[in-house]
Chain length 221, copies 2
């Protein structure tokens, strides 16, 4: 049965119900940990589900920071130091990653609180997550405020990437199923994935074809 | 083996290789079709993998539009009429959805070209995709230009939603596995998903627990 939900229905929803509902609408989301460190070298780690690709050249990536959320320590550190890391959440660290969303005070490191391990890459100020299968160093480019609801859109340029060599395919595509990167739906649901297929570049006069994968087994890893 | 990719390595990559590589870094992405119609009622449909949740109250949702891409017809229609639809891409319509990325001229409807069916909801100007399991009407709020690479961040407020009633859980969460919504990685890889678990709200003094799902079988649908 198709259900139609109008604006009035949304307004009448219980607050928590609406939060769960609206958070489900965008579809699957990425699961990433943002690693930062203050000028005093206090490490911070926060899970976000809003990391989004912005462009390949220059390599830009963005994420949304809600107003007055616990992740404000993250934003303060980014503003102070201009750098952060983005780390994929894989199946083996989902629960620790989710736990970083708890409202710890600023002097508590979410690394210590959750058992994840901070590591440094070539003197980069922000810590990466050692257990993450794909991690990158990012330099802040700009923070755009979305006036309509007070959120901030944090935009950065990728400086370096570390991941497993085997996952990088001949044409540059990274096989996330090998990395066991998870997807998020709603506020709190985590998913593994199975590859259906890659599809060829779409052209008006051709129907799309599946791209054969070299070096990847057709079955799910 | 861990591979470290530095900025110089990125700069030296072949253009297509870099596009595939950088597009993989954000993790899993949502797969949605943006439905629009010009003032002259020419329908347009474009697949995007950048739809992102911005807030529940007001219910805001955003997506990224690259400069000079084929999706510019979509942006022109949104600017002209102020409305659009966002439609989940499910397994059964992946290939048709991917095909909407082909560079059709403005007078060609991607609906006709791909076999997807436009439908109207209560006089809303923009067409929804009849075959999509979750579709919503959105009113434009603002378009923010990201000056660093010329992309536009299109922000809208959700006006109505249509989806299968059975997929909406008691607490408002929508079970996307029931809807067979797909996830995207890189430029062109599509994935089905399996739910691992939902996790409880994180608190500093408690470890997270799995939330039992009412009315959803534990196995994957």
């Amino acid at each position: 049965m198709t259900k139609h939900i109008a604006q009035a229905d949304l307004a009448n929803m219980d607050n928590r119900h609406r939060v769960n509902f609206i958070n489900s609408l965008s579809g699957y989301k990425s699961a990433n940990l943002i690693g930062t460190s203050s000028r005093k070298n206090e490490d911070n780690l926060a899970i976000v589900s809003s990391v989004v690709h912005l462009g390949a050249n220059p390599p830009l990536i963005g994420f949304i920071m809600r107003p007055n959320s616990v992740e404000r320590h993250t934003l303060e550190n980014i503003e102070e130091t201009g750098v952060y890391t983005i780390n994929h959440v894989s199946q083996s660290i989902v629960k620790a990653a989710h736990q970083t969303a708890a409202r710890y005070d600023r002097t508590t490191s979410e690394f210590e609180a959750t058992g994840l391990t901070p590591e440094r890459c070539n003197g980069f100020h922000a810590p990466l997550v050692k257990e993450s299968p794909l991690t990158m160093g990012v330099k802040l480019v700009e923070i755009t405020n979305i006036t309509h609801n007070g959120t901030d859109f944090v935009i950065g340029e990728i400086q370096w990437i570390q991941t497993r060599e085997e996952a990088i395919q001949e044409d540059g595509y990274i096989d996330l199923t090998q990395l066991e990167t998870v997807a998020v739906s709603g506020l709190d649901c985590y998913h593994s994935t199975s590859r259906l297929f890659r599809l060829s570049y779409a052209k008006p006069d051709k129907s799309v074809k599946e791209i054969p994968l070299k070096g990847i087994s057709a079955s799910n890893d």
